[in-house]
């Protein structure tokens, strides 16, 4: 830590108004099997320094960033990163005089932080013998194939884990160390008959089930228990009718609702997007600053929060990458838009006293930007279970795991496709329908929410590959939710 503290002190002496320096050692293991063979396995280590500086400019400050690979004691790599950060900041400052005025760079206050944070791990994923991991994965693939019979086309399963050991020192006195660990996995069966191809995944497409922790995360998913069911559902999809088109009641089960929250609440509440800073890649946001506290985002049932303190969740940590301690921030309260995901810079720009602690970088070699933490739909304290919600619905569609996702650059106009859906008739799940799609616009959709499940139905999900930034950064984020019901939603199969 002393090396980092010395580096930021030197940067201050050389004219930086603020500086922070990180060292991150990143370890990963990925193991994937498919149809009886190991398809992918590697153990990866990457470590290096990322240095960020703020130098004076006509609009208050200009950021620079430099990153170099190296171990914790590699003073030369740290120095090279610091030099690169200063050079890029000075070049950025030179541009501030081209268009005078504009937003000033100021940082919200934060107390200097000291300490250590570590994810609670019951069983170290990296210490589990390879043979045990292979036995699990081959076993569930065999189970899926056995259940699918002759129509099985492909069965695959994967597990993986990541451990990040991070040191951070800032020029305003913060020195913190964190050990963040997550693990997870998933499985997939593809079936075919004639020209028809269908698939099911468990527990969800994309990254599977991922959470902070170790091998216990994978054990809790009970892959063997789920294998026969998803194979049978995949077979049912081969002969299922397409999802009927029309306007109906939709219940989103938690794997799909998690992605709905991600795309239509998480991203639009990122304050850098709201200020237009992400417009060249991911886009902007319909939740512009003038709407903060004044805009009806959804119905009174809708309460959304950002919380990095949730134990076991993928977006939890001790401090963000500028040393702001993990916090909980309301984003939507009883349907009203009340908060953003913020950094120290955007909090100051919004006139807020403190950052929400959302500035994070994928790795040592990326500039930290505003990212989701755990953005969740709060359960209704007296809300129903999924089956009670279905029983309370006369006619509608229950949407399962996500299959496709698309939303416009303001996060308004969306369309989601799911792997599977069930028709609901007179309070009962009836037939399976294939290729279900639903779409709408964000405030209208959330305003159509008339029921949110209870605490017992709440489930925390994790996504590993939230893409944002340029160069692209993939971030691990969490989304918790119970199932929820939405009235008058457009559905169909194409």
């Amino acid at each position: 830590m002393g090396l980092l503290e010395d580096a930021v002190a030197r940067l201050r002496r050389r004219g930086a108004t603020f500086a922070d320096a990180r060292h991150v050692r990143d370890e990963r293991e990925t193991l994937a099997v498919r149809d009886g063979r190991v398809e992918r396995h590697f153990a990866a280590t990457s470590e290096g320094f990322g240095v960020r500086v703020l130098v004076a400019s006509p609009n208050g400050g200009a950021w620079g960033f430099g990153a170099r690979a190296g171990g914790r004691q590699d003073a030369a790599a740290l120095e090279a990163a610091a030099e690169a950060a200063l050079a890029t900041a000075r070049a950025a400052a030179s541009l501030a005089s081209v268009v005078p005025g504009g937003a000033r760079v100021e940082l919200a206050e934060e107390e200097p932080q000291r300490g250590r944070f570590a994810t609670t791990v019951a069983r170290d994923f990296f210490a589990v013998p390879l043979a045990d991991k292979l036995a699990l994965l081959h076993g569930v693939c065999d189970a899926m194939r056995a259940a699918a019979g002759a129509r099985a086309r492909s069965a695959s399963a994967h597990v993986g884990a990541r451990r990040q050991d991070k040191l951070l020192a800032t020029s305003d006195g913060t020195s913190v160390e964190q050990l963040l660990v997550h693990a997870g996995g998933g499985m997939k069966i593809v079936v075919a008959e004639g020209s028809q191809v269908a698939h099911r995944t468990y527990p969800m497409e994309l990254d599977g089930g991922v959470a902070a922790g170790g091998w216990e995360v994978i054990e809790a998913l009970d892959f063997p228990g789920a294998a026969p069911r998803i194979a049978e559902e995949a077979l049912a999809l081969l002969s299922a009718p397409p999802c009927p088109a029309g306007e109906t009641t939709v219940i989103l089960d938690t794997p799909q609702l998690a992605l709905q929250i991600h795309e239509s609440c998480g991203h639009p509440t990122e304050s850098d997007r709201a200020f237009g800073d992400e417009v060249s890649l991911a886009g902007a946001s319909f939740l512009t600053p003038d709407r903060l506290g004044r805009f009806r985002y959804g119905s009174r049932h809708v309460n959304l929060t950002a919380d990095a303190t949730t134990p076991g969740a993928l977006g939890s940590f001790g401090w963000d990458d500028e040393g702001v301690p993990a916090r909980k921030t309301p984003l939507v309260a009883r349907g009203q838009f009340v908060g953003y995901l913020t950094s120290r810079e955007t909090a100051a720009r919004l006139g807020l006293p403190r950052s929400g602690g959302c500035l994070r970088a994928e790795a040592w070699n990326r500039f930290p930007i505003i990212r989701m933490i755990n953005v969740s739909l709060e359960p209704d304290p007296r809300g129903p279970s999924l089956e009670e919600l279905v029983a309370d619905t006369d006619d509608g569609i229950l949407m399962g795991n996500n299959k496709s996702w698309s939303i416009d650059d303001l996060r308004l106009n969306f369309q989601f496709g799911c792997e599977i859906a069930w028709e609901i008739k007179k309070g009962r799940r009836t037939r399976i329908v294939k290729n279900p799609l639903y779409g709408g616009t964000t405030p209208r959709f959330w305003s159509a929410c008339d029921a949110v499940g209870g605490p017992e139905a709440f489930r925390m999900w994790g996504l590993l590959s939230c893409g944002k930034g340029d160069p692209m950064q993939l971030m691990a984020v969490g989304h918790g939710c119970p199932p929820a019901r939405f009235r008058g939603i457009k559905v169909g199969s194409e």
Partner: protein
Amino acid sequence: MTRPSDGSDELIKRLINSVRRTGGEAELSLHATRMGTTRFAGSRVTQTGDVEDLTVQARVAVGDRVGSVRVNAVDDATLDRALAQARALAAAMPAGSFAGFDDGSAALPAHAGGWDAETAAVDAAERARLIAPAFAACARAGWTAAGCCAAGETTLAVATSAGAARVHRYTRARFDLIAGDGRIAGRRSRDGRAWSSVAADHDALVDDAVARASRSRDPAPLPPGEYDVILEPHAVAELCEWLAVTAFGARNVEDGSSPLAGRIGEALTGPAVTIYDDALAGEDGAPTAPFDAEGTPRRRVTFLDGGVAREVVHDRASAALAGTRSTGHAPPIGDELFDGGPVPQHLMLAPGDASVDELIARVDRGLYVARFHYVNGLLDTRRALMTGMTRDGLWRIEGGKLAGPVANQRWTESFLEAGRRIGGISRDRALVAGGLSECWFVCPTLLVRGWKFSG
């Protein structure tokens, strides 16, 4: 730390020596980058950085078992340790079907070259000099500037115990400008392997972005329906990016999800559509890569030839499984988004013979589309059914001429079906860098009849 710009000879020698020291069957594959980026919005710099990184993948085979380890250093001790760890992992793996490491016997194919000294030397100050006129021009027109300017270099190197020793360097540069106010946007961008080509005619590019923004004021609503569309190269490239990951890789065919699965030799689109991967020719300024992460020489692969399904790309493992030879398309090391097996990284759509103005003149009532946003190609991969939005420029075409702006629209369309409704293809193409990963697309402007918009 070895920089990408350090001597290639010294680098490859180091890899070779390490492979020799370890004994047995081994491979070291390196991917190193130095990239400087300046990102801006609201006519101020929002993110900037100068980053050097590398990934080395060590693979060791013990019989037909393979262990794989990745590290981010190239000192002898780290390489030796990575190879030893890979050997230990290999010993713990179950019996497999090791396809062998490249033996280096095949000569590297001729390629267009790819490294440019000027581009490799571009620093933050040089990037700022290209950005400044854009800030000023946008301010004069009452807009702000957003976008990105980047330049850097990549080194690829592979050494195997079987005898391969290959190294290649290439550079790349990018300038992307959105003139606008957060809602209205006019956008132009250039990608290339040389800074000089990206910076050429800079004022014209900036002026065009500003003019496009000005022509996008007060967009009108559009009733849902089918419209003839002119798709600019960036819009076409987004479709191609999804085809790259859902249709044109061997694994897509293995699991039956590709539209080409079981249909080789069949016409999947109309005859106007020819799509191929060519990492060698450097068409329209595309970076080149004569071998893949396994050291296998790349070859041109044609996926759709006049609409007819022909072949897909392979790495060594998928080729062994399919009883064929690798096409040199192993996925790049350390790219988390390319975990789906072999993938085309230099996708080209063959040009036609029309000018863009001639294409517009063929449209009586339609839309001119600058870009798509957030396309998703997973709806029905067998049909290449995709959905997405328009962004950064959508205008009506009336009577063969460009008319007023239209509000952004959602569309859902099958690429295969749209490929049977091609009304023309431009002879000029543009290089577009992939949005998610290190891949490039060279695409013309397309006229497609009856594109489906849902509002």
